[in-house]
Every structure is written in C-alpha cells, then in structure tokens.
C-alpha cells in the first residue's frame, strides 16, 4: 500500500497523477470514500495523466463518463446500481473489453463485482479535515 496526504483539491489531482503512473489499459480502480471525499478530483488527475483534456465531472446522473486520452478513462458511479443485472443493463461489462482504465465509485454496492474484474486495485480516500485527505493506493496483490 502507498499512502498520500492531500491538503487541497489541487493536491488530490496531483495524487491522481501519481497513482495513474501505476495503471495500464484494462485496469480497474475501485474507490472507497464518502461523498465529497475527492473521488472526482482524483479521477481528474488520472485522466490528465493519460493526456485527456476533457472535463471531468461526477458521473452520478450519467452513470459513466468517458474521457479520451492516450488510454481512455471510463469513470463510473454505481451509487444507484445495486445488482449484477442492473450493471449488465447499463452496459458496464462491455466497457471491460475497451482497453481503457475503469475508475469506479461505489463499487461496494455490488459485492459480486470484484470477481469479474481481472486487473483491479483499490483507492481509499479518508477525510481528515475540511480540505485534508489521506489517500491510500492498494495494488492488486494486496487486495485479497
């Protein structure tokens, strides 16, 4: 596990870039962290690392945002998704074949999901103050 400290949204974006350096096409990043923890800012850092200039926003309503870059980044919010069937019905599994990086918020809503993701890592964001965060990157071999 690698631990980062962030004291601002800008530093969270920078942390996203550092984490992105560990990622390759086909990887899935599973976030944990409460609302407002900075998952979107972190994703912005990841997308920017891969050369995207697209706007990075929360996919809460769209369910998925796609950011073009040298490796595309697919940003999912599964907050309103509760079952594997729902996940299938939003086309989630089709994205796994598109050789991008999947950044997934609220994956813990669908406990069965992890088994379907071949290359995955975890990112935990813990709020320690209004603007301060502890961000932990957990590589696949330390996940389970």
């Amino acid at each position: 596990m690698e631990r980062f400290i962030s004291d601002s949204p800008e530093e969270t974006i920078e942390t996203g870039k550092k984490i992105a350096a560990y990622l390759k096409a086909g990887d899935c990043v599973l976030y944990t962290g409460e609302m407002g923890a900075g998952k979107t800012h972190l994703t912005k850092g990841i997308a920017e690392y891969f050369g995207s200039t697209d706007d990075v926003t929360s996919p809460t309503f769209a369910l998925v945002n796609e950011y073009d870059g040298t490796v595309p980044v697919f940003h999912f919010d599964l907050f309103r998704i509760n079952t594997l069937d729902d996940l299938y019905a939003i086309g989630f599994f089709d994205y796994l074949d598109r050789e991008g990086i999947m950044c997934i918020e609220w994956s813990e809503n669908i406990p069965e999901l992890a088994a379907y993701l071949t290359n995955r890592c975890g990112v935990n964001i813990v709020k320690t103050g209004d603007n301060s965060r502890i961000i932990e990157y957990i590589p696949q071999e330390e996940l389970c």
């Binding site: 299938y88 089709d94 074949d97 598109r98 813990e108 406990p111 069965e112 088994a115 389970c144």
Partner: protein, 239 residues
C-alpha cells in the same frame, strides 16, 4: 427468398445475405476490429448489399441473433434490424446466438456445444445435435461454470465440436476431465451472418415490433455463492 442475417452479440460484427432458393450465400462479412458495432454495422450492411448487387427492397426476411450476448451489442443489432425491416415493411426473425453458431458447422454430424464467454470462468451455453444438415437443440440456454459444462458433456458419446468465443475455456475444462472435444476451425468457430440466415430459415417470422433481445441472467445459486465470496472480500477491504 433472400435473408439478411446479422450478429452483433459479441466482438465480431457479422452480416450475410443468403438465397434460400439457390441455397447459396450471396455475400458475407465478418469484421473484428474492436470498434463498437454502432460504428461498424451499418457501413458493413450497406457495402455488403452494394457489392452483392442487392437492393434493400430485395431482402425478404431480416434476421438477427437476439442473444445471449453483450448488452450493447444485442441492442445495436436488434435496433438496426428493427429499423430496416420496419422501413422495408418486411418480417424479422430472431435466432439464438448459440443456435446460429451451431449452424456454422451444420455439415459436421455429431454433438455441437456452443459457448459464449460470460466472464469468471462461466459460459452462456446450449448443446445441439447436428445430423445431415439438421440442427436439433438438446439443452436450453443457461449460464454455467466451464467445468460444470464439461462434466455434462461427458454424458455424450463421440467427439463434441465446440463453437463460440467460450470454446477454448470449455476445451480446457474438458481436457482436464478427459472428455474428448474439438474446436471448430477459426472461420466457423465464431458468429457469422451465414449461421444466422440458416437458423432463421427454421425460425418463426415476426414483426419488427415483436423483435426483442433475450438477455440471459446468472443462475441464482451462483449469484449467492458469488455474493458470499464478495462479502468476504468486502470484509478484507474494511481493514
């Protein structure tokens, strides 16, 4: 009768025109370019018809593989066929993706097992008996673990031909259990428009409105087991 057969259920984008009177394929295209079917399908159909010298009005039946398969892929293929058939005021036929692949190897007599990779070492599968050009369904479509399917295949005598993008997964499981299976050769192993056309000849003709995708869900027992495994994983992540 001319049939346009389309399959976009998995990675390949397939279209073919088959003449049932001549019993001949007039044109067939398979594109496996990793692009989404929404980009590939309509140019493929348009070029196929133009290069075969066939007008869309000449098509008598619009056939499509309606599942199992990828959610997005199925919806693209079915929507396209619905649209074309509606505009041309012609009937549609929905055929199983698995059955259409069994028709690819209709010339080979014996047991044919069609399997589509459903991830997590699972396949969507059905088994057929091919006899003198006739394809007869032996099992309903279901989602099974590869080793579970291999064990079921052991009940059949003789070689079993495997088709579909899950064929290799099944072959590996069958090899481990000492069950004889053979992979269909590459051009016949995966989806083809030709297979869809042949299967459509024996399918019910329906209106474009009646054409619907057939999604296949995971069996309940398997879901529960996976939920249990996932709970354990969730516990671990808490630490």
């Amino acid at each position: 009768m001319l049939i346009l057969g389309i399959d976009t259920a998995a990675a390949p984008c397939c279209a073919a025109v088959y003449d049932t009177d001549k019993q001949q394929t007039l044109g067939s295209v398979v594109i496996n370019n990793k692009l989404t079917h929404s980009v590939t399908l309509m140019p493929v159909v348009s070029d196929l018809l133009r290069n075969s010298g066939i007008a869309i009005e000449d098509i008598d039946l619009f056939a499509v593989a309606n599942g199992p398969g990828s959610f997005t892929g199925l919806r693209i293929g079915i929507s396209a066929v619905k649209g074309m058939a509606f505009a041309a005021s012609k009937p549609c036929a929905a055929v199983s993706t698995l059955e259409a692949m069994a028709y690819n190897v209709a010339v080979c007599d014996g047991i044919v097992c069609a399997a589509i990779d459903a991830r997590c070492n699972q396949v969507y599968t059905a088994t057929f008996l091919n006899d003198n050009g006739t394809v007869t369904r032996l099992t309903e479509e279901e989602c099974l673990k590869a080793d579970e399917l291999a064990a079921r295949l052991s009940e059949y005598d003789g070689d079993i031909i495997l088709v579909g993008d899950g064929a290799q997964l099944v072959k590996k499981a069958a090899d481990e259990q000492g069950i004889n299976t053979r992979l269909a050769p590459d051009p016949l192993r995966f989806q083809t428009g030709y297979g869809v056309c042949l299967a459509a000849m024996n399918a019910e003709q329906i209106t474009p409105e009646q054409l619907m995708p057939m999604y296949l869900k995971l069996p309940q027992a398997q879901r529960e087991l996976m939920a249990k495994n996932a709970d354990a994983y969730k516990e671990e992540r808490k630490d």
